[in-house]
């Protein structure tokens, strides 16, 4: 008989559609998903329905307030803000997802290795993570930006570094907890190798924690890449990223409120959505565990 099948029998949590569908009973999850669907629809489908080019300059139409032709108004160069918000969201949201993917994969790998093997290696890895966590919030990204320079790619790299210790900590904690369960000893005793052990038994068990972490980190990363763009260290204008749009409208707050209002609303909705999804998932997993 297959040894891994025996060992894993009875510890694999129920999965599949019914489990996910049940999660939607949580109000915050349903509202969060709705918000994200709306924002994503605008960002993904919007540009196809909009005849304006986000980069088309029209000096004659500068600072036009919201109207039928330009629902979100125009900026100081007469560019259509609706199309800039739509395209800008693609940059911001894609960047946020890449940040979390990069930081998450590296962080999870380091955390699982540290938690599974412990010893000197685990100690060194986790103390390095502590060192990264000693830099509050954006400071680490600003340090990285000082070295790497500004730009979309460098901003994404800088922010991915912040995500690494967050993921490593959760992955390590969960791995240690699972490591001490009898079925891991049982699997070790029948000769399951560490790689199989991690992918078959450890990863599926830390999945819930990491899912919760990921949904709030995607929002946080969007917030931070926009923050970097806003202070001039991330995406550079004229690329219409949400943060650069907000910084572009900063000088015209008193004459053209619409330049900053609309990108901000979408960024806020996106972040609220991800946080609500995170809350909903946390409640859901807590109950089933």
């Amino acid at each position: 008989m297959d040894t891994t099948a025996v060992v894993s029998a009875g510890v694999t949590p129920p999965r599949g559609r019914s489990r996910l569908a049940g999660a939607f009973r949580h109000k915050s999850l349903a509202i969060g998903v709705a918000l994200i669907v709306i924002v994503l629809a605008v960002v993904i489908i919007g540009p196809f329905l909009n005849s304006h080019n986000p980069d088309a300059v029209n000096p004659g139409a500068a600072f036009d307030p919201p109207s039928a032709a330009h629902p979100f108004g125009t900026d100081s160069f007469g560019r259509d803000m609706l199309s800039r918000v739509e395209t800008g969201g693609r940059y911001t949201i894609t960047a946020a997802i890449v940040i979390v993917l990069l930081g998450g994969v590296v962080g999870i790998a380091l955390g699982i290795v540290a938690g599974y093997f412990r010893g000197v290696l685990g100690f060194v890895i986790m103390r390095l993570m502590d060192l990264l966590l000693a830099f509050p919030g954006l400071l680490l990204a600003l340090t990285a930006a000082a070295i790497l320079g500004s730009g979309l790619t460098n901003g994404v790299l800088a922010l991915a570094i912040i995500a690494v210790p967050a993921y490593a900590r959760v992955a390590e904690g969960a791995t240690i907890e699972i490591r001490n369960r009898p079925y891991i000893d049982a699997a070790t005793s029948v000769g399951v190798n560490p790689f199989t052990m991690i992918t078959r038994h450890v990863l599926p068990n830390v999945r819930d924690d990491l899912l919760v972490l990921t949904s709030s980190w995607i929002g946080l990363s969007a917030l931070w890449i926009a923050a970097l763009g806003f202070i001039g260290l991330g995406v550079q204008p004229p690329t219409p990223e949400w943060g650069t749009l907000l910084s572009g409208g900063q000088d015209y707050l008193s004459v053209a409120w619409w330049i900053t209002t609309f990108p901000g609303i979408f960024l806020a909705l996106f972040v609220i959505g991800t946080n609500l999804i995170g809350d909903g998932l946390r409640d859901h997993f807590d109950k089933t565990l």
Binding site: L131, F135, L142, T143, A226, L253, S254, G264, L267, A268
Partner: protein
Amino acid sequence: MLRYTARRIGALIFLAIGISIIAFSILRLIPGSPAQAILGTSGTSKAELARLNAQLGLNRPLVIQYLSWVGDALRGNFGYSYSQKQSVSSLLAQNIPPTLELIAVGMVLTVVFGMLIGVGAALRRGRLTDTALMAASVTFLSLPSFWLGQLLIQVFAVQVHLFPVVGGTGLAGLTLPAVTLALGGVGLTARFVRSSVIEAAQQPHVVIARAKGVSRGRILFGHVIRNSLLPVINIVGLQFGSLLSGVVIVEEVFSRNGLGRLLVDSILSKDYPTVQAVVLLIAVTYCVVTLLVDLAYRIIDPRTATR
């Protein structure tokens, strides 16, 4: 307690060494020569470069360079800012007070409003007030501070003329930036306080107190809130970190002088000695505050020692 304190201080020293190595590396990891980077575009003559190379000891081994940089930093000498034409330490001296002021007011707002909202929501648990307060909290912690700051300027300075648009001294100039800085923390603290109060209210001694007829007010203040305060101390430590990071954005939005704006400006103008100094200062301060909070926590609640 003494052993724990000694161990934590030992860990702090290692952490500080790590931080200083990262801050030191900033100048060595950037492409090109450090001397060129420090002088920027202002000085490109060979003689000047050679002079700075010798002055900074850039010809010496890296370890020696690091040790002398740390030694100088410990004596408060962070080098010279070529872009601002003054010593980095005098730049720090000018920019630390306004940042501390902002963080202090932000912290007070965070704790006061976080507690009020959190306790209020917990008392009305499961009702409409609770839902509304928690929805507000999620919104607060999700709002981009750079956008919120712009909105507040728009509404309270441009439309209503209640506060100065940018700059401004004293309380009037501090109100909008402090609110912007604190709002995220208010949301986070409120959520935390709510669950902490709910947990404290379910303790057996609270049930007993209720059963023997102690008044609601005495139960609330004497048993529930008192016990739920403990975890809040932890949050204060965490909040200090996010406030330290938040000032970077808030000072930029409101064009306020301070460490955060100094950091961003010096990164943009490639003023590396200043970047190194600010990074070192903020990270070490954060670690020291975290340590103090942890120690205070153990003094107030000795049970944590056994956990």
